[in-house]
Amino acid sequence: MRLRTMIWKELWQQPAPMLTSLAAVTLGVTALVTIQHITVSSEEKIAGDMESLGANVLVLPPQVSLQDYYAADMHREAMPEEYVTRLDLARMAGVENLAPRLCVEAAVDSIPVTLTGILPHNEIQARSAWQGLGMLDGPVGTERGCCRARGADAGVGDAAAAPAAGRTIQKLGRRELILGADAAARLEACAGDRLQLLGEDFRVLAVLPATGTIDDSRVFAHLHTVQELSDAGPVVNVIEIMACCEDAAGSLIRSLSRELPNMRVITIAQVVEAQLAVNGLMSRLSWVFFFVLLLVGAASIAGVMYANVAERRREIGTLMALGATRGFVTRLFLGKAIVLGLTGGLVGSVIGTVAAVIVGPQLLEIAVRPVPELPAVGLAAATGVAVLASVLPARRAAGLDPCLVFSES
């Protein structure tokens, strides 16, 4: 027989109070693991959405109100394309890419389409979904590197030439089109087809894969072609800026507003921040649930342990009379706490993970993948709390007077 045999047998001697404590610990860990799993997956989804969204800062004409980010370039208000150059020359830290856009209404064989003028390479950088097509490869004229000051890796001359250099390296020709997936389906067009647009003949360079964004319904042409054919002049509707998140949420907006004081600068980080705040709230709430339930569990375990010490006084005295040291008695009680903590942590982690994987997609439309760190955190916390809750009862047990086993005591 060993200490663990005694612990196991003693636990099963009176299972009801122990199971009650176990249930509280298990619930605490389950709540934590479930909510944290969903929070982590939600944050990953937002990060993914941000990635597919591309730009996270918009520069808009002052009259435009942003009702819908995706429709922000369809407001018929314009600003000079020269602003793109000004922003590029300003070398603002955190600016990954500038992507000006000009949208005009057009028709292909009487089918209305939105023709969007872009500078292709800039768009490639701004939209990860466009990458990997292999149709628009080559150096990127405005590459700056995330979160690095432009001046740090580009000379003044290079920076000044960047927009121009960017245009010269475009492979989207003056009479070439890129079709969004939905637009291609509506027009029944594919790569290599020729389409009549604004009285000019265009060749379809490629069809974009579906992105789930407004780009799917767009027809893209070179910005300067759209400016020329629509008689809009050198203007754009919006400048989309892809910026590092921390800069987008902070100093970059102030820098942009200073550079273009008459323009409206909106960061999607504000939108994302709201969602992240909700996630943060969920995460904090899960910790609150966790700690409340663990406290309940800890109080329950401590109560059960104290009751156990009171009930087992004579048996503890007997053990001590038979040669049990105080250390042995302490280990006996802490061992029970470790068994309870590990069991509660393990069961709670498994239930929490399974619940998150099942509930996430069904209720929240978020695919939840198991995060290995969370069960480990739940297991460690549950065990730690159970042990902490048992320290005082264990000390009380170890401090019992062994003389109580005698008849006159």
Binding site: R2, M6, L322, G323, A324, C403
Partner: protein, 227 residues
Amino acid sequence: MYELHSVTHVYARRGHHVTALDQCSLEIHPGDFVAIVGPSGSGKTTLLSVLGGMLAPSSGRVLFDGRSLYDLNVEQRASLRGEKIGFVFQSFDLISWLSARENVQVPLMLAGRSSEYQCRRAIELLKRVGLADWSGHRPSEMSRGQQQRVALARTLANEPQVILADEPTGNLDTETRQLVMACLKEFHQDGRTIVMVTHDEVAAAFAGRRIRLASGVLQELSLRNAA
């Protein structure tokens, strides 16, 4: 074996001081069978606790095998109890959630013996007290006599030099009382020292020495060979 020199123990109870042992001096030699008799509250249990290394006296010295017992720390005294002192309690004090065999294994486990040895030794001792067939039973499934025999088997587990028995026949019928005393006599004949606190004159008659304890004062009543 034991030497008590002017041992005094005073309890403080509700602001009053009660002298349980008063300047007690006593020598117990190896192989002695000592019965300590006296009325309730006379200090018998206090004396047994002091001899068991579980209660440090207020003053005086207690020597065990020539060593000052209370110069050892709590853990060392616990180890000493496990190795050299066996206890027999009035209420048997078996661990309720362990079987008879496991109860006998407890002192062996505390002494760090291997599981195999524990098991073998426990079965051997249960055979000796006639309970080999009851090794898997819990105390609640056994009669009081059987429980006390399991307790006796547990006492012998680590082959103690001395057995301290606290009213070993107090809760037993006449037949079982005789059986328990026969066991203690047998342990004594094996060469062990027995110190027994009892109210039972019949049980006390088994002892070679009878010591009366009254109001904390020791008085040797008789000295003869054990029955």
